[in-house]
């Protein structure tokens, strides 16, 4: 028994003697290999998850941005003429343009598609991408037409609003605490420098540029003092000449605001309001050390005034890392002598120069024009923030897929070279429901 305890103590002594140097080196070496393997696996897994998360962001960005664009396009033409230069209900002379109308109001149209000649950044130029721009006209700030009180033929023209009307009730005008609060409330709809549409009791439309609004018991909208465009009273010499104009005192006319909404892909790095967004650029995971935020562009929604200038503070980023925006159209052709019926529908694909004959700036060929648009075919492309691919997918310019460059991948290097970021592209046709009944030429 004593010998057994002695053997046990010796065994215990060996156990507490520690590892030999060889055992230790072998263990450390083995552990090092395992650690390296685990680290590489974790690094690779993290890289994959990061890349996929960024693609997920691109997918969400494309869907969210496209839905915003879609809703705005669907609303185009709401409570506004689809083409002021040819509208038979218009009162005034934007075509003669004398005296000079506000620049955009003079050619007001529900949908205006512009195809710039130059891309906003060298990255897009290197990838042969020049995004389109679209300007939509409609009553976006309100769904109401407000009944008027008297219209005062003063300089500037002042249009009084009825306070006891459903639109004013929906606006919450009566419950606003003071005249200044009421004016602030009114200005959320009838903002300064926006376009005002006036429909008189004869059904004729006039347009003006808003200067200001006032609250109180007799709320009013004041148009710009320069008289551009001239406001026409039926009894005036101009009214007699045009055979239209606000009759009598102008009471019981209807007014609504017209907003001009512009979507474009642009560089926002110089916009001070968004400076924090560009404060920490990302280095591409497989790039050559170049920051992949360089040359980035965003899908931007802004509001224009009656002259076509961006209203300060109205621009907002709808989708980050947008790289392309393109529009096609479907249009109606009307056969003369057929009761104003739609004879046929035709389609022009995105980026075709032929789009401008229908949705571009005036003049338009006879029988064509923006009032005959029926569908906008919109396409939006958003890239992943990181450039995680070293090669491109050949497209139509490279003898590959018959699609435009930049819809699958976009090169962030010089002249569209590697590294490449993956791109999410969505496209859909959007019906212009507010233009569906327009058949005048």
């Amino acid at each position: 028994m004593r010998a057994w305890f002695r053997d046990l103590r010796r065994a215990a002594g060996r156990l507490t003697a520690g590892f030999t140097l060889v055992e230790l080196m072998v263990a450390i070496t083995g552990g090092l290999f395992v650690t390296i393997a685990v680290f590489m696996l974790a690094k690779q897994a993290t890289a994959v998850y990061t890349a996929e998360a960024r693609m997920g962001n691109a997918t969400i960005g494309s869907v969210a941005g496209f839905e915003r664009l879609r809703l705005d396009i669907e609303r185009a033409g709401f409570l506004v003429t689809p083409n002021i230069q040819r509208d038979p209900n218009r009162c005034g002379d934007p075509v003669g343009n004398a005296p000079a109308w506000p620049t955009y109001l003079q050619r007001l149209q529900a949908v205006f598609i512009f195809q710039p000649a130059v891309a906003p950044t060298s990255v897009l130029t290197g990838n042969h991408i020049i995004p389109n721009e679209i300007t939509l006209a409609g009553s976006y700030a309100s769904s109401d037409q407000f009944p008027t009180g008297p219209v005062f033929d003063t300089s500037p023209v002042t249009i009084q609003l009825q306070t006891a009307s459903p639109p004013m009730a929906r606006l919450g005008y009566a419950t606003a605490g003071s005249p200044s609060a009421q004016a602030a409330l009114l200005s959320t709809v009838f903002g300064a420098s926006r376009i005002l549409r006036i429909v008189d009791t004869a059904g004729k439309e006039q347009y003006g540029k808003i200067q200001s609004v006032t609250g109180g018991d007799t709320p009013s909208i004041t148009l710009t003092i320069d008289g551009k465009p001239p406001f026409i009273f039926r009894s005036s010499a101009t009214g007699v000449s045009f055979k239209c104009g606000v009759p009598g005192t102008g009471e019981r006319s209807l007014v609504n605001v017209v907003n001009l909404i512009k979507y474009s892909v642009k560089d926002m790095t110089t916009n001070a309001a968004y400076a924090p967004l560009f404060a920490s650029p990302v280095v591409g995971s497989q790039a050559t050390g170049a920051t992949t935020d360089v040359g980035r562009t965003e899908l931007v929604r802004g509001e224009l005034d009656a002259d076509g200038n961006v209203i300060q503070g109205s621009e907002e980023i709808v989708s980050e890392f947008a790289v392309d925006l393109a529009f096609g159209i479907s249009y109606a052709t009307i056969r003369a002598g057929d009761g104003g019926q739609v004879d046929s529908l035709g389609t022009i694909g995105p980026n075709s120069a032929a789009v401008s004959a229908w949705a571009g700036a005036p003049p338009w060929p006879a029988g064509q024009g923006p009032q005959l648009l029926r569908v906008v075919r919109a396409r939006l492309s958003i890239r992943s923030r990181a450039a995680d691919r070293l090669s491109n997918i050949p497209t139509i310019g490279d003898g590959g897929l018959p699609i435009a460059s930049g819809l699958y991948r976009i090169g962030l290097g010089a002249n569209g070279a590697a590294p490449f970021a993956r791109v999410r592209t969505v496209q859909a046709d959007i019906m212009l429901r507010n233009l569906s009944g327009v058949t005048w030429l």
């Binding site: 997918t59 109606a332 529908l345 859909a428």
Partner: protein
């Protein structure tokens, strides 16, 4: 005795068990990567398919612009590109319209394809099912104008599952939008496809309206 066993190092069983645990862990990480990539791809396909379905809904609404009558002729659907299939009560594959540059086949980006030249690129395909909810009144000779017809349009957008191979049919290349492919008139082959459904109503425009 205990000390002797420990001095012998790890047994082969212990080694295999530890390697197995490591392999399972590694396989789990790799499998999760695959799931993440496939989930992303499915999310992309789902968003594109939704846009395709919405585009079809709006194109059918636009198609109703042609649901009119010619002078002296009763109201007709013959002018339309797709709504004239309303008598077909089962799912059908709409034809490609050259004048509208729109049809059943779409690329992975949701771009409509011309099947005569771009069929192999098709990734999404569309079937329709139309039904008259309210007939057009112009079928009554006593009604001089019309504009009350309503059609219900069901839209089925489908694309093949990753583990399914689309067989070539009459065409030389496999194409999801070949006539022989798709979930079928009664959804009998639906297990081979991802499918989304949309429903909309299309209204005949009032005649001669101008706004």
């Amino acid at each position: 005795m205990i000390a002797k066993r420990r001095a012998h190092g790890y047994t082969i069983v212990e080694l295999l068990m530890s390697l197995s645990v490591l392999a399972i862990g590694t396989a789990g990480v790799i499998a999760m990567q695959k799931v993440a990539i496939e989930s992303n791809r499915y999310a992309k396909n789902l968003s594109v398919a939704t846009r395709v379905g919405e585009a079809w809904a709006d194109e059918l609404t636009a198609d109703a612009q042609l649901w009119t009558y010619k002078a002296g002729v009763p109201t007709t659907l013959n002018n339309t590109d797709w709504l004239n299939n309303v008598t077909n009560l089962s799912w059908f594959r709409p034809a490609f319209s050259a004048r509208r540059q729109f049809g059943p086949a779409f690329s992975p980006l949701g771009v409509p394809l011309d099947p005569t030249t771009q069929a192999p690129l098709a990734h999404f395909c569309v079937d329709l099912r139309l039904a008259i909810l309210r007939p057009e009144l112009a079928s009554l000779p006593s009604v001089p104008t019309s504009g009350d017809g309503v059609i219900r349009a069901q839209i089925r957008v489908f694309w093949p599952r990753d583990d399914v191979t689309i067989p070539p049919s009459s065409a030389s290349t496999a194409n999801v939008c070949d006539a022989a492919n798709g979930p079928g008139v009664n959804d009998q082959n639906i297990s081979a496809y991802h499918v989304i459904y949309l429903t909309t109503t299309v209204r005949q425009p009032p005649q001669g309206r101008a706004s």
